[in-house]
């Protein structure tokens, strides 16, 4: 399904180049063996994350406005209904401009299609879940802080606040061990393989013999059941279809090591 999406986007975006925004800073991450909350297979508990680059900050409304200017087919008044629901960029002041108040805030209300197109225009792509999770496992001082109760509680504290207040500026939160900002406590983030994260809609079904009704990697149940912070992120991603948008769903781009951008 993802491959088909990518192909459609390539058509939609065309071959026109999109100059990287001057402010984009991509941090190199070495990767390595990693124990995900979503193991690759029931008997395989770890995965290997290849070296990759990840944007240090979330994509802002201003960044996205620049993309929309060059690719007007992604304006909210022109976007194909297949690629974005009615909430797409609805919070912007106009079809072309977010307005000064929110220019520096992370862009939200974007569909997976739009986020993918943005990254592709930059010669990049959305991060894959394992890459995102690898980078997001870090605290300010440790590459993998997931067993630190204080770190977990700090993430949960974000869930304990309603989504009503204004978002902070993109890149405003402190950098983690890898130099990446905004991974927690700001917005949810699209990942490239969001569409294949078919964890069961009813989280209590884990171990149910029927779980094989979901294809491929979606048949997996969650590991690390006390890692509520990650569980909720996966629940959110699995509730979203690729055309959906949400006031708390943003994104950043990634690239293979050496690919730059």
């Amino acid at each position: 399904m993802n491959r088909a999406h990518t192909w459609l986007i390539t058509l939609a975006v065309g071959v026109c180049g999109f100059a990287a925004h001057a402010a984009v800073v991509s941090a190199p991450i070495a990767g390595g063996r990693f124990e995900s909350v979503l193991p690759p297979a029931p008997t395989v508990k770890t995965t290997v994350v290849a070296p990759f680059g990840l944007d240090a900050a979330l994509v802002s409304n201003a960044d996205f406005a620049e993309f929309v200017r060059k690719h007007p087919e992604w304006r909210r008044d022109r976007v194909a209904g297949l690629f974005a629901d009615e909430g797409y960029l609805r919070h912007w002041a106009s079809a072309a401009q977010p307005g000064p108040q929110i220019a520096r805030q992370p862009v939200t209300q974007v569909s997976w299609f739009a986020a993918s197109a943005y990254c592709e225009a930059r010669g990049a792509r959305l991060p894959r879940w394992y890459e995102w999770e690898f980078a997001a496992a870090a605290s300010a001082t440790q590459p993998d802080a997931r067993d630190d109760p204080a770190w977990r509680q700090q993430i949960l504290d974000w869930y304990s606040k309603s989504a009503r207040g204004a978002l902070p500026a993109a890149g405003a939160s402190p950098a983690n061990y890898f130099g990446i900002r905004d991974l927690h406590g700001v917005v949810w983030e699209w990942v490239e393989d969001a569409g294949s994260m078919l964890v069961s809609d009813d989280s209590r079904e884990q171990g149910d013999p029927n779980r094989n009704r979901f294809c491929g990697s979606g048949a997996l149940s969650l590991e690390q059941k006390d890692n509520y912070a990650m569980m909720m992120r996966i629940a959110m991603l699995s509730s979203m279809k690729a055309s959906y948008s949400s006031s708390s769903m943003g994104f950043r781009c990634a690239s293979d090591a050496g690919a730059g951008k």
Partner: protein, 505 residues
């Protein structure tokens, strides 16, 4: 009211007789059960055919209100539209919490349908929500209770349809991962599936639901409080509340009724963890449909409501005053907020409950001779205290303070409270004895060859004179070998031993 009741009862009796019920109004004309004595047949008897007439929009109410009876005689298509909203609201005075709600309240909106109804359910997740949500209704027959069919991203709406096959009172709740956290944040409510003949009419119906909450800050710690995952896993609740806030049903928000009313309460327990010992102080439930089922128990003081369960309780108000709803796992009521008030107004009924009829001085015979204590205290102050005075004062104090456990004979109670009479443990070490009276004693001791393992609290209320007198009495009674303890010795021990923190008799 009574006329109405009888008319309804007769109508119901007609209906019931068709079902082969043996219920009928009793000769006194008092309310009798509407419910069949035998089994209802469950879901196999619950399909009452296709929906008839125009679709009906369900009336949803916020707690503590209950929607009116459906008053329908045939199955209908009922449309329920429930919105999920994440809101910041007070959980206690000066304390706010981000609740995730069905309909903006904790518990969520009350849903009332009739057995056999076809329910078209619309779950709308507000665009401002941070989380995806869904709903599992315990009144649904089908996998997940609707959970998978209603999984809804923020800013979206889902629809599914079920037939309400089983009558009863059912909990609904969110089942999105992590389920416990969604429930702990207030995502639960009740759906009543009326029996085909409806429920007997009452004067008032209320909707109350208990839930436990877990905050990073302590109970009543001011400010906005975040969910504490570890406390939730440990089942160590910070708050146990009725209707989602400490003041939800107290003060101006108290439930209100009059004397002479039939009250029905639909009581649910959302959990996520704790089972409720539901009790109304000063009332007795005439009827409890325990676990929300069909059959009932009568004359119940306290009823157990499981997490994810419910009960329908009914009682009749006779005497005016405040009736307090509590979880009788009672520290939850006094230290975690599990209190609600039902204010009953009306004429006093002294024939049923008099109120306070007198207050006079009462002297226990155990402290019948305070004069001896007084004499000894004066003598001690003037430096003329004799051992005989000490023993006399000590005897009085012993009877008031020690004899409940160690007995008037000093023999104690075998294997529970050690003896003082001819006690090797007492006689061996006076200083140790002083320390025990002052600071208490917990744990195993061997006295006269027998083992004891219990708890004696510190006797913090006794002054040095009194401790000295009690011990002198004990050393000179029941065949013990004499000796005396002075107030000075007690003062020394008091000064050199550390008191248990917060210890009090």
């Amino acid at each position: 009211m009574m006329k109405n009741t009888i008319a309804m009862l007769m109508a119901a009796t007609l209906l019931l007789s068709a079902c082969g019920s043996t219920d009928s109004p009793d000769s006194s004309g008092q309310e009798v059960s509407h419910h069949p004595v035998g089994p209802t047949g469950g879901s196999m008897k619950g399909d009452l055919g296709p929906p008839q007439g125009d679709p009906v929009n369900a009336v949803l109410t916020s707690p503590p209100l209950v929607p009116p009876a459906t008053n329908r005689k045939q199955p209908a298509k009922v449309i329920v539209e429930l919105e999920v909203i994440e809101v910041d609201k007070p959980i206690a005075d000066g304390v706010t919490y981000t609740f995730w709600t069905f309909g903006g309240t904790v518990p969520g909106s009350f849903i009332r349908v009739r057995q056999g109804d076809t329910v078209e359910f619309h779950l709308k997740n507000h665009p401002g929500s941070k989380m995806p949500h869904n709903i599992d209704l315990h009144g649904v027959t089908g996998p997940g209770g609707g959970a998978a069919s209603s999984f809804t991203a923020p800013g979206h709406a889902s629809q599914f349809t079920f037939k309400a096959l089983n009558q009863g009172l059912y909990v609904y709740h969110c089942a999105t991962a992590p389920v416990g956290m969604h429930v702990a944040n207030g995502m639960y409510g009740l759906i009543l599936v009326e029996p085909p003949e409806g429920l007997p009419p009452v004067d008032q119906e209320f909707y109350v639901m208990q839930g436990d909450f877990y905050t990073v800050g302590k109970y009543r710690e001011k400010g906005h409080q975040a969910f504490d995952m570890q406390k939730a896993i440990d089942e160590n609740a910070t708050y146990v509340l009725f209707n989602g806030a400490e003041s939800a049903l107290t003060g101006p928000q108290a439930l209100k009724a009059k004397t002479g009313q039939h009250i029905r309460m639909f009581i649910g327990n959302g959990g996520p963890n704790l089972v409720s010992s539901f009790h109304v102080i000063g009332e007795i439930f005439d009827k409890v449909q325990y676990e929300g089922g069909t059959h009932f128990q009568e004359n119940v003081q306290t009823t157990l409501i499981p997490a994810g369960g419910a009960a329908t309780v009914e009682f009749h108000t006779e005497v005016p005053g405040n009736y307090v709803l509590v979880d009788h796992s009672i520290f939850r009521a006094f230290n975690k907020g599990a209190v609600a008030i039902l204010e009953v107004s009306g004429e006093a009924r002294a024939d049923i409950y008099s109120g306070k009829q007198g207050d006079e001085v009462y002297l226990s015979d155990k402290l019948s001779n305070p004069a001896a204590v007084e004499t000894a205290a004066l003598a001690s102050a003037s430096g003329t205290l004799t051992k005989e005075q000490q023993v006399k004062a000590g005897e009085v104090l012993f009877k008031g303070t020690c004899s409940a456990c160690h007995q008037d004979t000093g023999a104690g109670i075998p294997s529970v409270f050690p003896p003082l009479a001819k006690s090797d443990y007492l006689l061996a070490d006076h200083k140790r004895a002083i320390g025990i009276v002052l600071n208490g004693l917990t744990g195993p001791v061997t006295v006269n060859g027998a083992n004891y393992n219990s708890v004696m609290p510190p006797m913090s209320q006794l002054n040095d004179d009194e401790v000295a007198n009690i011990l002198t009495f004990a050393l000179n009674s029941w065949g013990n070998n004499g000796g005396a303890v002075t107030a000075k010795e007690v003062a020394q021990v008091r000064a050199t031993t550390k008191r248990a923190e917060g210890a009090a008799h």
